[in-house]
């Protein structure tokens, strides 16, 4: 097998394996780039939101899932910690 094909094959296997791991996580999970666009997500997030993977991946997280407050008023993107250049520091909070 040519080296390029071998690399491509193992890359795909690795991606598939990572996706399996992500999908086994019971919490919703997604990755965002610096612009706040979704780069990947797992099955739990799709079940939580009702979206298909192709509808979420590439979309802006804030515009799609975080656009309004519970009372229906607009949630400005500039106030959102997940948006654009406002990179949050490491933190975890419980409810």
């Amino acid at each position: 097998m040519p080296l390029s094909q071998l690399v491509k094959s193992s890359d795909e296997e690795l991606k598939a394996e990572l996706q399996l791991i992500l999908n086994a996580i019971v919490e919703g999970l997604c990755g965002l780039d610096v612009e706040g666009n979704v780069t990947f997500c797992n099955d739990t997030l799709l079940k939580m939101t009702g979206y298909r993977a192709d509808e979420i991946i590439g979309s802006n997280f804030h515009e799609l899932l975080h656009h309004s407050r519970p009372n229906g008023t607009k949630y400005p993107a500039e106030d959102c910690a997940f948006q654009g250049n406002q990179r949050p520091s490491v933190h975890s909070c419980g409810g």
């Binding site: 996580i25 019971v26 919490e27 919703g28 999970l29 997604c30 990755g31 965002l32 780039d33 610096v34 780069t39 990947f40 739990t44 939580m48 939101t49 009702g50 979206y51 509808e55 997280f61 799609l64 899932l65 975080h66 656009h67 309004s68 407050r69 519970p70 910690a81 997940f82 990179r87 949050p88 520091s89 490491v90 933190h91 975890s92 909070c93 419980g94 409810g95």
Partner: protein
């Protein structure tokens, strides 16, 4: 952070989020967000819960399920024979009491991140469970209504929740207060911290909107050792 996210069908769901920064390189994944339904909050908001609903929620959390089974089998509950089913345990303890138990376990688990704090929690937990069971026993022997019996359990279980917060937030200072207290710990708390564990607990309960409890203390209330943290309506 506590937050809300929107579904495709236009409804929204409460969630807790954890943000994990990865990289600041353009075109790469900058951070990962994990979130899940905040079922605990949802549970507290519901007017009534069926045993099956509670069992479903509790069974997702192994630690919580273990705590409930442990309680159902403890001497406090006074059952004959071993309780091995979660449904049976929930039924035995009572739905309202389990709701409180879920909340208490959650608060305790939020505060046991530090091993120094964690060392104090088992004793406080045992004391709270004992107070809850005794309060429940007194209410039962006084032929109170089923609701009041369960509320007595709740009041007992949560009466020291303010201490958990103090331990978690100011371990060394609070340890010193506990160590030097010769009389009422609350008076020393008031003197050195400006509020008592009862007031902190009452404040927390007002945030959690416990509909069946009245918090009798507020930060502006002058502390009196005869004041209970909560009283039954």
């Amino acid at each position: 952070m506590d937050d809300f996210h929107w579904k495709k069908n236009g409804s929204c769901f409460p969630s807790e989020c954890w943000v994990h920064p990865l990289s600041q390189t353009l075109n790469r994944t900058a951070f990962v967000i994990t979130f899940h339904y905040e079922e605990l909050t949802a549970v507290l908001r519901l007017e009534s819960l069926s045993l099956a609903q509670i069992e479903r929620i509790v069974s997702k959390d192994v630690g919580m399920a273990a705590k409930i089974l442990q309680l159902a089998n403890s001497a406090f509950i006074g059952t004959r024979g071993r309780v091995s089913s979660l449904l049976q345990a929930v039924s035995l303890i009572g739905t309202e009491s389990v709701r409180t138990l879920v909340l208490s376990v959650h608060v305790f688990s939020q505060c046991d991140g530090s091993s120094k704090v964690a060392a104090y929690l088992p004793a406080l937990w045992d004391h709270s469970v004992a107070a809850a069971s005794l309060a429940q026993g007194i209410a039962t022997s006084e032929s109170c209504t089923k609701a009041m019996v369960e509320e007595s359990f709740t009041a007992g279980l949560l009466h020291d929740i303010g201490k958990v917060i103090f331990l978690s937030e100011m371990l060394d200072k609070y340890r010193h207060i506990v160590g030097t207290s010769r009389g009422s710990i609350s008076e020393l708390e008031l003197e050195q911290l400006g509020c008592t564990h009862a007031q902190v607990g009452a404040y927390l309960m007002s945030i959690w909107a416990f509909r069946f409890l009245w918090c009798t203390l507020s930060p502006s209330t002058t502390y009196c050792s005869s004041n209970p943290m909560v009283r039954l309506r």
